[in-house]
Symmetry: C2
Subunit: 216 residues, 2 copies
């Protein structure tokens, strides 16, 4: 099974690396990191770079596509015609087309979420509605046929385990969960807007809006 | 605050990228990815490469060091004298010296865990004892003074949020948890050996032992 993780400048690394660490443990997984050209792609920290192994053109028939979000890079990616054309070209033959965080906005910009339920980072839920999807703000994972979208950043790990269960059955997913010791014990409990105070929401919203503006 | 994430061939990407995504959101964080030389470092998937930004020699005084584990690369890293010498040299002046997964074995090989309580991936707990640490198999995070060790792979996210709480207080940690939407909802519940069947433990153990052997 060929897995294509999309990389683009200003993406959020954990959006891709969380699911990668789960999905790569599947039997017979062939991994690719795809971008406009091979080589380092600088993420939204402006320090960490992940290396693309293949171009879009070299990857015409992936079985699974995963599109990450990005705190600074999403808007540019939503206007990257090469990426959008590639998503539209490969989607009809994928087994799964997936996104994490604001990666859903990129799938939406490619026209793939028109009229479909989908989720994204809490800050991007209303934008997702503007691009034609039916936003599901309280859902961590949303399936619409062969499209599966996840909520913000860390939700990609939950998405990937769910995907392994769909592809290889629950036992394989359980083995991989044990392999990566995914027994989460967050020392705090503010991971969803419903658990945060209004002032905390405003502070994080302001920070993320400033990051997005800096990326445009 | 200068944060140094150690990279080495055969490391597990999520061990470093989980904590990175949390710690980079701290105010005034200066990030570095350090290795023997700058440039791409191939991880244990043999496909994904992360880019080192600095050498050990260029990084004589990090405030926080994080050493990831690796399914194929840990044993070679435990014998990498340049890495071990650097860890011994910088540790006295760090604010925090930390590890995720089998990264604890590398701290132990550098002599930094002698007689101290520490945790690691469940498969490496007994090895950790052989290298002089006091293994804490049921702990996801263990603090021993300024050393903090985490259990396997995904535990680095919990460790990093705990560290932010120690460094900047609970409110900053809570903001970052909301920012990365860390509201885990694993679709299965086998993330700790105590939750897995014996046959599942044996299957995962055999797979991880084979990966480690392939790396030597």
């Amino acid at each position: 099974m060929q897995l294509a993780f999309v990389l683009y400048p200003g993406m959020t690394a954990l959006d891709a690396i969380g699911p990668y660490e789960v999905l790569r443990a599947m039997p017979d997984a062939e991994l690719r990191f795809v971008a406009g050209m091979p080589g380092p792609v600088v993420t939204d920290s402006r320090v960490l770079a992940l290396n693309a192994t293949h171009t879009y053109a070299d990857t015409p028939a992936p079985d699974l596509v995963l599109v990450p979000g990005g705190s600074t890079g999403t808007q540019a990616a939503m206007a990257d015609q090469e990426l959008l054309d590639w998503l539209r070209a490969v989607h009809p033959a994928t087994t799964w087309t997936t996104s994490v965080c604001s990666g859903a906005l990129i799938l939406a910009a490619a026209g793939l979420l028109q009229g479909l339920p989908a989720t994204t980072h809490w800050i991007a839920q209303s934008a997702l509605g503007h691009f034609g999807a039916i936003s599901q703000p309280d859902k961590r994972i949303v399936q619409a046929g062969k499209i599966a979208t996840a909520a913000g950043v860390s939700a990609g790990i939950d998405l990937a385990l769910w995907l392994v269960g769909q592809i290889h059955g629950p036992q394989e997913a359980e083995r991989i969960q044990l392999e990566i010791e995914y027994d989460p014990q967050p020392p705090y409990d503010t991971g969803h807007p419903s658990k945060a105070t209004d002032s905390m929401l405003e502070q994080v919203r302001a920070k993320l809006m400033a990051a997005a503006a800096a990326g445009t």
